[in-house]
Amino acid sequence: MEEKVRERAGKEVPHAGLPVAVEESAASSPGAIRTVRLSRRAVGLLERQDVLGYLLMLPAAFIIFSFIAYPFGWGVWMSLTNKEVGMPWSRVSFIGLRNYVHLWTTDGVFWNAVRNSFVYTGIATAVKWVLGIWLAVLLNRMVRFQRIVRAAVLLPWIIPTVLSTIAFLWIFDPDFSVINWTLRWFYTKLGWGYVKGPLWLGDPTLALMSVTFVNIWRGTPFYAISFLAGLQTIDPDLYEAAAIDGASGWQRFWHVTLPGIKPITVVVIVFSIIVTFSDFQIVYVLTRGGPANSTHLFATYAYQIAMVGTRLGLGAAVSLFMFPVLALVIIYQLVYLRRGQR
């Protein structure tokens, strides 16, 4: 049933500007319009901004509660129990912080995942940031083919991650890698003999770097396009003024461009840290956390324990270890944005 609220020039009722609900009742006779008079009190309430505001917020609040707050609370609760897949609730018991203590003290892989997550996020964020700004400045200056180049730059970010990562699985293949084939070709051309080439996913350190590289490849466009938007908000007069004052190109970048895109930088980096820190797809497709657990991140390890290993409680605890880190990042962002508003 469709409901329409129509504002009418309220002549009949002295309480002016009455919103009257007009209801189309499809049940009785289609098309017939029935006027429903709201009681004086209801109208009074709806006219108050604070009440109406909350009312309009309700749908959003409902979505946030049912798809974010509720699952989150559920996850927290689960991490405090011994819940396993297929275990009836009658056997599930509250075990306090035992899952967390277990991970912290005795789990042999957890700290690998912690270390990897920080290395992965740290390197990826830093490189994406530098590349992003560089690309944005270039794109900003570009005059010809602007649209098509911008669209092309966005491609890695638009292609479904799993799809592009499968391509990388091939690129990193030790026998059929396009990189290693090229290397081999050069080696034979130069008469240096046969070379196998690097084991992109077989060597523990290199494997972590490889998955980080894919993340950078995928994430840079987001930075570049966001920064590009930021660049276009900078007043050209500022550059002109700087140039008149004799500022070099580098000085202009440092003192005009960077401060100009600072607000957007904070937002982009914070978002990027959040999704990079909790990344799953790239690692899962390329290595599943191997070799020898050297590429496990929080999310892949949580998945291995909870979904594959059936220990839902313990797995929830792994993923909740991300929470304090991400909370700090978010708090920083909120504080920063508030300050900007003042």
Binding site: P88, D175, G290, P291
Partner: protein, 545 residues
Amino acid sequence: MIDIHCHLLPEVDDGPKSWDVAVEMCRMAAADGITHTVATPHASDRYAYDRAYLSGLLGELREKAGPILELSLGCDFHLSFENLERVLERPHTYTIGETNYLLIELSNYSVPTQLTDCFRRLGDRGLTPILTHPERNPILQQTPQRILEWAEQGCLIQVTASALTGLWGERPEIIARWLLDRSAVHILASDAHDTKHRVPNLSAARAVAEKIIGPEYADALVDVTDLCTALESKYGGYLDYCKRHAMLGGRFNAVPHTIVPNVYVVRNSYLKAAGTQHWPKTWEELRREGKKWKAAGHPIGQTVGHTFGDAVDFTYPYLWSFGAAERDEKGRVTIGSKQTLEALKFFKALWDDAMDPAGAGWDDSNNNRAFLSGAIAATNNAPSIYLTASNQVILDDNGDPLVNDIAHVSNPAGPAGVFHYHYTQQLAIPKYSKNVDAAKDFIRWLMEKDQLAKYLRRGQAYQAGALKMYMKDLMWDMFPALKPFRDHLLEMKNVGWKGEADVGAARVVQNYVLIDMLANVATGKMSPEESMKWAEGQLKSIYAG
């Protein structure tokens, strides 16, 4: 919890020596979570049993102990000829409370051959016999099969709780676990006598029993024991490990369906070119010969990455062949052993000398591609390489069909023998299914020989049947090159060996623990000693949780 076997009354048998001890026992029982205890004094040649007098004592104990524990009277009935006549005459003198259940204790020195008949006579009188602590009977310890027969005839089996927790030593514990595994334990009871040694405690044993019989997914999957046993009796038995992977605690949680077998797949021409006369019989020999192959640019290919197929197929039999086992028969972690260390040290040498270092990052498909493209000389695999080469008519460098150059050979032997790992596949029905009966009917139909034999042949022998009889199937003559897969079907243990293929064993696979133990060493991340210690910690934590 209810304890139906407890020597609780003071000064009537070898139970508590005073009222104080008896009352203390009641308190201990209550503190353990026991709500109801049956006081069961002995009735034997040594101890007379006077129901009326004992009832009086029980009333007295009830007053002294207070309302913390509900109490009933029963009897630990020693089975002898005279005793049997007595109970047949007046059964309710000895039963538990007013019920028809009677505890029966056998002599440690002789178990009458006509015991089955005794049980039948008790049954005729309307009594249900409960056989107490058979796991502690030295004669039955030698012939535990008899306990199963009685259980099948309707005799209930009561195992001493403390036998499961090891109080009575090795033998009773193994028998108790053996019975639990076969669903032949109906009751756990304390058989407590005092507050120090044989105490009224059930919770510890219950936890142990839960671990043994509380199988993964058992709560979520339909019990298909009837279906499986019917198939077994119609077609003969399953391969042992197929059964072990599908059942736990004497119950089939899934129907053993098929196996994807694994052996070594080799390129004959590469071996010959390197001067290798025959496929190596031992790992040591493989290392020596493999060194030559690797020098010629065709190493042995093997993944030790995070994959559930080939990495498992290599790791488990490799460790078994060195005599390394995750656990012993009682479920204690035994990976920290001389054998494991030897296996790891040798693996490092094998890896460096003869294997393709790329394997650390391989998934289940890499070795297939590497083999078909000529990058490796040998790899442990299912029939998929052969079937791809044959079905897609892949050619080698000389333009000849590659399939002619492929041989299937056994895993090399370690100090403890030859082992393989074959991927077992089962069919299970989730409990939430709305069509359990239809699903069962479908599986029953599917598992009939008419269907399954056809299925396996159409699959070009990629899979073998879980029932032993398929080893003799005509299919193997249709695909003679794949016969080695059949020939090595029996050389396998279950995951978790020497323990059961239980939830812990599954988690060890799912967390890649043993695979990573090898990968740690292969990639140089850890020394063999460190890696073994790491794996031991992982196993202990997984099996404890």
